[in-house]
Symmetry: D2
Subunit: 414 residues, 4 copies
């Protein structure tokens, strides 16, 4: 349905051509300083009309806070917010309405609901993600202030033009052990990328040379009245360990769910991902090392910061595939709702490639997932901290009392 | 947590060395003929000791039904079931206990819970999936009897040895439009593969020649005291259209969640997946065609049977990446819990590759997801069917009354 | 939190002095004709300033629909709606702010959230119920159109002035068997009461003579700068059998939850209620009788239309207790937040008695609960209807196939 | 369905005549010492055959722990447990099977599921509550160890024989202000009652003289082949303030839900309850006073420890009505499933009154509700504690930083 989360709970509403789109964010910690501007920053990164790579439709998408905040501080009660749709008028009826758009949601919405919005994407429109981006901005602010968490997403490929994510394989398939799952350059990028470097180029690819090639690829699609897909990679730094709930709500499962709920997504991989399935355990295992502060870290991080479904304190990173937009101006041979064959040329102006604008959406969904997982784990840590020390078990079964208290401090009273 | 689902709800319990593992399945339709044997068939495909490619630990894993069924028919009440653990004895303490196993859940469980099971994987053990496989067998039986749904998973790659899933790309990255996302051979396999052809080879790869190469690859890992990963592909045929709940619970999002909750998974892709992100919309769009029965189908199916998060009646297919098992006998340089560097050589006997045994787990999680989505949609269709016809809207907004009733019949009174 | 429901899901937002209050209603069946007026009718019955028995604060409470409806028909997507707060300005600081109001939520909100709204009730204000009443109006419209369900609530007591709900007891406590749980007059009223008869008097008590006494009681409280409590009784007619989910979500449990979530409530009883606990089984049991249409009904209905947590087709009725409003102008000896003793005289104008305005809120929460329970049961009935007949069980275990199909028709294809 | 709770989650399974009944308890804090005996104590208080006031059917009801505990300490993973049904054999078919038992669940289960268990109550049997009592014992142990919470329930009435709960009213209904809601004797009892004083008499009424009258009343019902109802009152002491989630999950709403989910319940009231609805605000309001430790308490506690849906640190108390058992040996004129009129005399041996055995069930459900609410609030307090002090708001909006930290300590690091 339209609600996500257990303790940090986001519910969105809105179609592409109704009065407004928005969300209710329930469970935000009380006492957080929060302004409309905190939210607007991410909405601006999501909105159309930012560059000639995106749809020229220009909506201001100004957020209007309704509740849950007084004098700039959250009350702990639901935060209602909305963004007016500037284009609320359903379009005029036309020939193209007789066609379900190929690979669009027209047909399936009609199958599911027996009725569909008259114009545009209706509920399947990317305008629905406005509520998510707003909610994500709130989650992210808490994560940053309370734990120093950094979430940065960027475009890692457009069409076949990709950052050098994976290392090259060597030898033949039957004998080779596959090399390293990810290239050193990519791992270095994950460690250092920031939002300013991402936003420095309209493609939101932080590698200038690749970004230019991506730009050319998008423009080629646009000029051909066509569209193109791509991938977004996201890295989360400074995430506390212990997040994610075995067994069904492993952290990577929650992230996969959240990412595949974004329109136009086709795939998700955590850490080494599909490439990691090709290498042997002896190479894929992340050996433990003692960090400078005495805690355990891992030498490599093919796991993507999650083991057994639980964050381990290393960077969490993952990649999301977005298909090419279904709405293209180029003529398509297809069929009408009544089965009659015909040719459709979609009207309107649309993004030739969604990945640049998808970057803040991916960040938002990551923030929402992590916030909810963090709040759940905070409860456990707090509950544990009131119990007497365990003295009857062998030491390898129990976190040392000192480490246990430090863990409590890390997540609750830093 | 350990519960999945809204109307078809599965809750599992059990560690690797406790008295039993099992599940409660709530929301199974009443009046379904169901025997222990219906469940045992899939448990047998999951259990260890099936071939020399899997761990020699041999557990019978016989299911014991506790409730919810009388005289072989479901009552609609929760079905409790369990499988005894034959090895309930925690192992003797040893040097290896001082080490968190690299890329295993030892360290993160301790971080999360402050305590961990003394032996084996505890809750992170794959034995936990027994409850899921049992629940999936129940879901699958309903789906098959009521709707003729077929769910077949198979091993699509081991290490770098892969079925020819994707078509080769052509030309250079900047100019090429990427070719077709998937190869014709693979699409043909998706249309025809059955469980007997999957089970014909111990690798559960339905292509004999590739299967033999996979087998050799697994044995090479085993002989090297190492392990290897792989991918499982799953196809679902005859799935009714209309399943999946926009916006957060899109069908592919639910599948991604479910698949990434399986131990050792690293990635998920639906339909054309990551490969689909490389091709332009004009090639990726699935044009509509009229089927023989007058309904709409699509000429291609790069969407993987889901558009806008809703099933469209075409085959649903997806691929899941599994990493190489973390527990290997080969020595690893790593650190102890207390940070001291050392060398670990894991004891015990373990699977060198999990994908053959993962096949029924993937099928089970798919069945659970689809069953829950189906039950939710059944409610909507039934609720709609009681409302008077909509006469005030333009015809392109409304499913024709006849089609609407047929849709109701398809999902509720066939 | 602020979300209620599984398939019909209501999420509310808003404090007493923020920009707006409102709700997102998710899961409304698509294809339902719905106008703002359908909702406004019930909001008008809830709003302040309706008579001299309620607060003179007069807010128009005009609903603004945001989404989920196009051209007067529901799309099946979330319905966003809001009502502007006319008084958005926090009041000026004053001496009374130093006091937590006795039996109000000031103190507990501060304990829970560490922060509270500066003015009025904040989130604990009855203005929050606007979202519920709107959601209830939507649910109710579906229930009425699709199933002919009638929901009527009314004021059954104010202070000690009560409709003759219970029959008088006879004899002493040790020997008497308690008489009938409810009086014949009250049972007759339950069978016949309608909203017009309820609204005929400003107290919303449908018995004119008692209504006048109630009115005098409320005015006496008002004149004394005091307040008074009362009870609201609600009856639901034509509810399909089979609603309510054993075991935790029995229908009466859901109703109790919903009613006790309304501000100022202190008690709930279903059917014979507390009085029913006093009489023996031989008198309390509702014997079965064959109805004119051949189906089974019960001769009496002490059960209140629910047996084993499941509706049985008889009228569902229950009673809810509301305490006297905590905010009174009369001086109260109490303590400030810092513990210093003092005397508080609340400012502002408040209802001396909430029960007349609580009537549509009780109806709304009943409608929301029943709608959700109905949608869940529709799924089960639809799922069952696809299974082959059960032939192997004794006939007393199985609903006759004919009745089974009729049951399916009753709830899905009337 | 059969799952209750958000962070502390209980799922039960089992019918009256299947292999076993039991539960999975998910979300128990790790590191809690827990033995089968901790659970068995409450199961023994629930089981049949304890005295001549209960059914002579004697089942040992020995709990078998399956998972989630190792060497007597909880792992934080799901605790699976079960109790074998000693009588697993469905009874022989007989004439009485042709009748749905009046006011029992036979008819509604058949309406809902289209099938019902052949014998006894099936899922509606009170044996289902075994899983709840076990779960409650676990919750209660944590609440007691970590917060010193005490939960004590007792029988407050049988038939018309009642402890002097409410104070007598005075004067006529139109002029009187109703006296105090509860009698001083009853308030004194709430403050002092303990389980040993409750268990001192087989009725579980802690007032010996009233207990003897209740016993006589039950025996009178039994001798007449009849049954009788009653009420159970429960008090919770030392509960931390801040529990309960506005707006739908107010603490009293959760308790009402939980209590009305117990078989045979008809009503719930919190604090002054229905009686409280009769008195004016000036008498019902609980004035604040400074406690010896400097914190705020209330002079009276008509609120029952909850204001605005949130616990305030005073004792929480509530009362639950249970109807007389529906199964009686006395002949009843009723109808068969097929509508034919006839006379039913139930076979078997049944409790003439359920309230003595309901006492541990009420305690269990209270513990489950409070545990879940506590875990949710712990998360909020921990999340707040990491935010910087709020300096921009007027002091009456914000809990003093010192009190805030103490609040955090109370619930997380005592």
């Amino acid at each position: 349905m339209s609600t996500y989360g257990t303790l940090f709970r986001v519910t969105t509403f809105g179609e592409s051509h109704c009065a407004s789109v928005g969300a209710i964010i329930d469970g935000c910690p009380p006492g957080l300083e929060l302004s409309a501007q905190d939210i607007q920053i991410q909405l601006n990164r999501r909105r159309p009309g930012q560059s000639d790579l995106t749809t020229p439709r220009n909506e201001k998408d100004a957020v209007q806070l309704q509740s849950g905040i007084e004098q700039g501080v959250t009350l702990g009660t639901p935060i209602g917010l909305l963004v007016r749709n500037e284009d609320q008028r359903p379009h005029d009826y036309s020939e193209t309405d007789l066609y379900p758009r190929p690979s669009h949601a027209d047909y399936t919405y009609l199958e599911k609901y027996g009725i569909k919005a008259s114009s545009g994407g209706g509920r399947s429109s990317a305008r629905e993600t406005i509520g998510r981006v707003a909610a994500g901005a709130i989650a992210e602010k808490y994560l940053r202030i309370a734990h120093g968490v950094e979430i940065v997403a960027f475009v890692s490929s457009v069409g076949r033009i990709s950052l050098p994510t994976t290392a090259p394989t060597m030898g033949n398939e039957d004998e080779d052990d596959g090399g390293e799952p990810l290239s050193p350059e990519f791992r270095s990028l994950l460690a250092s990328v920031t939002r300013p470097t991402v936003d420095a180029h309209p493609t939101r690819c932080p590698h200038p040379e690749t970004a230019e090639r991506m730009k050319a690829r998008i423009i080629r699609a646009k000029d051909a009245s066509d569209s193109i897909g791509g991938t977004v990679t996201c890295v989360v730094r400074n995430l506390p360990p212990g997040l994610g709930e075995p067994v069904f709500d492993k952290l990577e499962a929650l992230l996969a769910h959240a990412m595949l709920s974004i329109p136009a997504t086709k795939g998700f991989e955590i850490g080494s991902g599909f490439r990691g399935a090709e290498v042997p355990g002896s190479r894929h295992n992340d050996a433990f090392v003692q960090r400078a502060d005495g805690s355990l870290g891992t030498r490599t991080n093919w796991s993507g910061g999650i083991q057994g479904g639980i964050s381990n304190g290393e960077d969490v990173y993952f990649r999301v595939a977005f298909k090419s937009p279904a709405t293209i101006a180029r003529k398509q041979d297809t069929a009408k709702y009544d089965g009659e064959a015909g040719t459709l040329a979609a009207r309107g102006r649309h993004d030739p490639c969604v990945v640049p604008r998808a970057v803040p959406i991916v960040e938002a969904m990551a923030a929402i997932v992590l916030m909810d997982a963090l709040l759940i784990q905070k409860s456990r840590v707090a509950a544990m901290s009131l119990l007497p020390p365990i003295t009857t078990l062998p030491p390898t079964m129990v976190m040392p009392q000192k480490a246990r208290q430090e863990a409590a401090n890390t997540t609750t009273t830093q």
